[in-house]
């Protein structure tokens, strides 16, 4: 090593006021970094509060099963001691009695609802027993008293069903969401025939979303093409027509469709009036599967048109000219040169429409009748009517996962960076 380089190492660089340069640089960098972090904190907080936290609690809710443990602590604490074959001993009955008599009434109502999912009958059993418990003599053995009050206490199937709720975490809601449930040994079995509904709803939801997406694509493509190629004056007018639905309330639009499409509606009346169809053959276009399809397609159409339009507008007309100049007919040029360049727009539109469609529930609720309901309606039902939030959350998480999977597949096939939303 030469003398010079040794010298450089020894001599520390100083700033004008004598602080070592390195430290000064570090301080100034740190300040900058802190400022950057502070700026980042606001959006980060926003994201956490509005996206991550709700999704996390949704997930928690969907696997949470600590309710029974919380309300019936004594019973669940000694549950393991039971052999699971003979009738449980006096201690178990005593624990159950104490739990049910000490817990708050409201909690008991809720917990019996939860227990009813595991075995139907629990709710009425607890309700009935609770009335009779007041007359019990706590000094005497409780087992015979309880069985006397309701003989279901002697049915070990009820006691077995408690085992399903023993763990504080459960995948049960997810199994419920696909028409499966636990038996008393915690094996996954099919729901009884008459309770198998959700698989059908899932299938229908995917079917409706797929049909609506394809219909939107077919309708939107020519419209977007016109928007992108017509002279500005005309295309602006067309754009207003496309965006009109955004300015109209969803309910107004749906009511308009109802008036148009119902059995005694404008369309059917006109068709009958013109003699195209017979009076008794009025088309069933509303309050069924068709109604859901038609209205959802109309409502979601702009979500397809806009990304397509934005991509198409960026394709210079010279490509079509070049293709024709090279000998391609206009239609072949369109197919080979124009359409492939619109793939990013198609991808964005398809993803967007499909994702929105999968979660739809207001439109199916209003125009879907019986066979046009989707999984979103089931979620809403469990949130608002049956109050089975665990199941509703599980379905929500499944929807979310389905969308993420879709996104991943899209990324593999087309590439997310290729997607142009506008």
């Amino acid at each position: 090593m030469s003398d010079a380089s040794v010298n450089v190492k020894k001599r520390q660089m100083m700033t004008a006021d004598g602080i070592p340069l390195k430290r000064s640089l570090r301080i100034s960098l740190r300040r900058e970094k802190l400022r950057g972090l502070a700026l980042l904190a606001v959006p980060a907080l926003f994201v956490i509060m509005l996206f991550i936290w709700p999704i996390y609690t949704l997930f928690q809710k969907s696997i949470d099963d600590s309710f029974v443990n919380d309300v019936l602590p004594r019973t669940m604490a000694i549950y393991e001691k039971w052999d699971g074959e003979d009738l449980p001993g006096e201690v178990h009955f005593e624990a159950m009695f104490l739990d049910l008599t000490t817990a708050e009434k409201l909690e008991i109502g809720k917990v019996s609802t939860r227990m009813n999912y595991a075995k139907s009958g629990w709710k009425s059993l607890i309700k009935k027993s609770n009335r009779k418990f007041k007359k019990f003599d706590p000094q005497k053995a409780l087992l015979p008293q309880m069985i006397k009050a309701d003989k279901r206490w002697g049915d070990i199937e009820f006691w077995k069903s408690l085992g399903i709720m023993k763990d504080r975490r459960t995948a049960g809601y997810y199994w419920n969401a696909v028409d499966r449930t636990y038996d008393s040994k915690k094996n996954v079995i099919m729901q009884p025939e008459n309770r198998r509904v959700y698989v059908m709803f899932w299938k229908r939801t995917l079917l409706v979303s797929a049909i609506v997406t394809v219909a939107c694509l077919i309708l939107a493509y020519p419209v977007a093409y016109l928007l992108a190629t017509l002279p500005l004056r005309v295309s602006n007018l067309l754009m207003i027509c496309v965006l009109m639905p955004f300015w109209t309330s969803l309910l107004v639009r749906i009511v308009a469709w109802m008036i148009m499409l119902q059995q005694q509606g404008v369309l059917n009346d006109s068709l009958v009036g013109l003699g195209i169809i017979a009076e008794e053959n009025r088309l069933p276009l509303m309050y069924n599967f068709n109604g859901t399809l038609i209205v959802m397609t109309q409502v979601l159409l702009p979500f397809m048109i806009l990304p397509l339009y934005s991509v198409m507008r960026g394709i210079p007309p010279t490509y079509m000219k070049a293709a024709q100049n090279l000998g391609a007919t206009p239609s072949w040029a369109f197919l080979r040169v124009y359409m492939p360049q619109t793939v990013p727009g198609v991808g964005a539109g398809v993803i967007l429409v499909f994702i929105v469609a999968v979660g739809y529930f207001i439109t199916p609720e209003l125009v879907g009748g019986k066979d046009g309901q989707m999984i979103g309606n089931q979620i809403a039902y469990h949130l608002r009517k049956s109050l089975n939030w665990g199941l509703a959350s599980a379905m929500g998480v499944m929807l979310l996962v389905a969308i993420l999977v879709l996104y991943w597949v899209y990324d593999k096939i087309v590439g997310i960076d290729n997607m142009r939303l506008g």
Partner: protein
């Protein structure tokens, strides 16, 4: 170059074009391009060059008149049946296809088999020295490389006629000059007819057999580069091609192919009668800067001048002078051992031969 006129491979006959029905963008165009010729349309922006090209390619229809290709009227033939190659200003390479697929496209459309296509694509890529780039996408190529691919694509299906609309406009000066020579050599080797559009006059002079100078939808002059520079027929061409000194004057006498003129300050001179009116009419004299001599008072055309500015440009010195109140008068002095030295503000005189001074329209 007169052999081109007779054959007329491409023929514009009384062609007019209007986009809005109010004004003519192309006015009564008559132009005949010979087979194998390299013809350039040169003109300022908006003079209708691209419009002419687009009519030839079939993307615009002539409002009036007829266009013939190989003696066949093509007004009603759609673009894809014309078999004309074209290089677009922004290349228009298909971004979703590789270079090979781009070149294959016109061959596919023409129903060539796979093996034949591959051979032709390879040949075309070799021609522009781009054979290693066949599997790249256009976005992965530099501007000059894209330009070559566009050129190869326009030639790969062996058209008889290739149109090029400012194909080098986006390239830097050095690459542009290099590509000018390559295009020129390709043209010579393949013998295709080229109609080339540019507004860069040096490009036009370098490459063309003949140049059609456009202004305002009218061909101002159609001539070889040499003629265009040496013998401009009107004031616009003289001004547009190369550097030019213009002097306003009035015709006072006509003697055969020569005219006597009177300058605005009363001085007199003599010029070639190229495109001037009768006695008493106004005319514009055109003198090239390199044909002006400084200091010697010889002949009829000798005028007092004052040196305003001297710019040293290596091979020559540009001298801006005040001649009869016009201080934009430029003289190019070759930088030779014998060249005279001058100072700014020096009073001297300029003179030129009668044959170097052309009397044109006012």
């Amino acid at each position: 170059m007169s052999e081109f006129h007779e054959m007329g491979f491409v023929e514009f006959s009384k062609v007019q074009k209007s986009y809005d029905g109010e004004s003519l963008v192309v006015k009564d165009l008559n132009l005949s391009v010979g087979k194998g010729e390299f013809l350039t349309m040169l003109g300022p922006s908006g003079s209708g060059k691209t419009t002419c090209l687009m009519m030839l390619a079939g993307f615009e229809t002539a409002t009036h008149g007829e266009i013939l290709l190989d003696s066949r009227p093509i007004n009603n033939i759609p673009p894809h049946k014309r078999g004309i190659g074209m290089v677009f200003q922004n290349y228009a390479l298909f971004p979703h296809m590789t270079v090979n697929e781009n070149l294959s496209f016109p061959l596919e459309v023409r129903g060539q088999g796979k093996a034949e296509r591959e051979a032709n694509v390879k040949k075309a890529l070799d021609m522009v020295q781009m054979s290693e780039f066949g599997h790249r996408r256009p976005a992965q190529l530099s501007g000059g490389q894209q330009q070559r691919i566009a050129l190869a694509r326009s030639l790969v299906f062996e058209p008889d006629l290739v149109l090029m609309d400012e194909p080098l406009g986006a390239l830097d000066k050095q690459l542009r000059e290099h590509m000018q020579f390559e295009i020129k050599h390709l043209h010579e080797r393949l013998g295709v007819t080229v109609v080339y559009v540019t507004h860069d006059q040096s490009e036009a002079l370098t490459m063309s057999d003949r140049i059609a100078v456009f202004d305002d939808g009218v061909i101002q002059q159609l001539a070889s580069p040499n003629d265009l520079y040496e013998r401009p027929e009107n004031a616009f061409v003289a001004q547009f091609i190369g550097e030019n000194n213009r002097i306003d004057a009035v015709v006072s006498e006509i003697h055969g192919d020569k005219v006597l003129v009177e300058y605005n300050n009363g001085g007199k001179g003599e010029a070639l009668a190229v495109n001037c009116g009768d006695v008493g009419s106004k005319t514009t004299l055109s003198v090239r800067p390199e044909r002006v001599r400084i200091g010697e008072k010889v002949g009829v055309n000798s005028i007092d001048a004052v040196v305003k500015e001297l710019i040293y440009l290596g091979d020559h010195i540009r001298c801006r002078m005040d001649v009869m109140g016009n201080d934009e008068f430029v003289v190019k002095i070759p930088n030779s051992a014998t060249s005279i030295s001058m100072d700014v503000g020096e009073k001297t005189s300029v003179s030129w031969d009668v044959s170097d001074c052309r009397a044109l329209d006012a």
